[in-house]
Amino acid sequence: MRLSAVGMLLPALVVVVGLGLYPIGQSIYLGLTNYRVGGSFGLAPIRFVGLLNFQRLLEDEQFRAGLLLIVGVAFVVVFVTYFLAYLLAALLNQRFPLRRVVRTIVLLPIAMPPLIAGEVWRYLYDPNVGVVNQLLIDLHLETTARYLPLDPTAGVFWIAVVGIWLALPFATLLLLAAIQGVNPDLLEAAAIDGAGPIRRFIHVTFPATRNVLAAILPLSFAGQILAFDVYFALSGSGATGRAGFLMPTMYAFFQLTSGLLGRAAAVGDVLLVVALLAFVISRAISTKDAV
C-alpha cells in the first residue's frame, strides 16, 4: 500500500521538486552570482559575488521607487477591495429582482486576463483618447489631460483602481461565503434587540468573519507584490518597451530579458521573501476553517 501510494504521488513530486523547489533553490544561489547570458555579455563564467546584487538593487533609485510604488498600491488595493467586498457581499446576500444576473455581472472581472484588463484601463486612462480624462475635464476636476497612473501623488490610487477591479470579485465571493456561514440565530437575536443592519454588521457579521479576512489580507497583499501582467500592461511597457513605472516584477522581467540573470534572480529572491512572509503570517492568523 505504502509503495503504490508513493507511486501515485511520484508525478506530483517530480513537478514539485523538478519544476518548483530545485529552480527556487537555484534562484537563491543565482541571486548571489553575476550570472549573465546572451547579448553583449556572451557566456561569462559564473562568479560568486555575495550580496553585491542586493546592494546594487538598494542603490538603484528606479528599483527603490518601484518597490515603494507597489507597496503603496498593494496597501490601497487590499484595503479598498475588502472594504468594497463587504458592501457588495452584503448587497448580494439580500433578495432582489435580477439578483443572479447582477451577481454574474459583478463576477465578470474574475475571468478577465489580467494583461487585457491592464491594456483596457490604459486605454481608458489614455490622455488623448481615454474617457477618464475626458470625464474629469468635463466635470472641471482636471484642466489638462495626462496619463493619470504617472501622477506623482494620486498615481498610486489610479493604478490601484485597476487592481481593485480585478481583485473585487474573488474578495466578494470569499466574504459572501463567510457571511452566509454566520449563525442566523445571532443575527436574529441582534435584530430582536433592535440592532439595524449597520449595527448588526459591526457587532455580529464582522466579528464572525474577521478570521477569514485576517487570513486572506496577507495573501492578497503578496498577490499584489507578485502581480506582473496587469501592471506591465498598464505601464505601457509592452507598447513602447519602456516603462512609465517599474514595479519589482517588471524590473526583474527586464533584467531577465536583457540577460542579467543574477540580478533578476536577486529581485526574485526579494519577492520570494515577501511572499513567504505573507504566507507565514496568514498561516499564523488563520483558524482551522479559514483560508
Binding site: P11, R95, L108, F253
Partner: protein, 305 residues
Amino acid sequence: MFANRTSGLTLPGKLVTAARGGIDSARVVWQLVTIVGIVFFVGFALFPLAFMVSGSFKSLGEIYSGAATIIPSSATLDNYRFVLLGNDLVQANYPVNVANSVVVAAMTITITMLVSLPASLIVARQRFWLTTFTAGWSRIAQVVGGIVVIIPLYLVLRQLHLTNNLLGVSLAQSIPGTAFSVWVLTSFVKQIPHELDEAASIDGANTWQILWHIILPLARTGIASVVLIVFLISWNDFLNPVILVRDPKLYTAMVAVFSYMGQEGQNDWGKVLCVSCLNSLVPLLVIILAERYIVRGLMAAAFKG
C-alpha cells in the same frame, strides 16, 4: 422585495406593532441604498468592458477624434477583418496564436490532471511525511509563483531544450495548475466516504482501480471545476509564454496583443481592443456559462474542505 435576508423574521407581535413606523421608513432607506449600491458595482464592473467592446468597433480616425463615446458613431468591422483575416500585405497571425493557446491549454490541463488526480487521492486518504510535504507545497505554490518561479525555471527549461517550445510553456503553467488542483481535488476526494474505497479494496481493487472506478465518477463535478480553472490559468497566462517563447509563430493569443500596438507614440487602439475582446471572449463565456463550477472550485481552495 428588497427585504434584507434577516428582516423576514417572525417577531413577537407587540414588538412589531411598537416598531412598525420606524422599520418601514428604515426599510425604504435601505432599499434606496441597495439600489444605489447595485448600480455602482454593476457600473464599475461593466464600464471597462463596455469601452473595450465599443472601441474594437471604432476606426482609428474615430478613436483619435477626441470624443470617447460608448456607442461608436460609425461602427466598423475593419479591426476584426484585419486581425482575423489580414489584408493584401499582411497575413493574419491571430488564428495561429489562438491555435497555440488552445494547444498549450490542452497540454497544461492534461499534465495537471495526470499529475494531481492520483496525488490528491493519496493526500486525501493517507498521512505520512510525503503527503504532508505535497499538501504543504500545493498551498505555498498558490501564493509563491509568477516571476519568482519563472526566472530559475527558464534556466531549467533551457537545459532541457524546452525554451521556444509550447510544451515548455505548458510545463511552466503546470506548476500553479498542479498546486491548485492537488489542493482542491484533495478536499473534493475527502468528501467521498472512505468506506467506499475500503469496500473496493477488500474486493481486491488496487489503488489505481479505486481512483478510476470510484473516485473519478464521484468527483466529476469537482474535476470539472478544476479543469475550467486550470484552463483559465493557462489561457490568461502572459508571463510564461512571453519569457519562454521567442518565435512569433509560437506566440500565444495573450502575447500576440503586443503585435497590434502600431507605431510608438500612436497606439493602434482599435486593433488592440479588438484582440482584447477576442482574448476575453472565451474566459467571459466560461464565467457566464459555468459560474457555479468556477465559484465552487475557488471557494474549495479558499476554505479547507
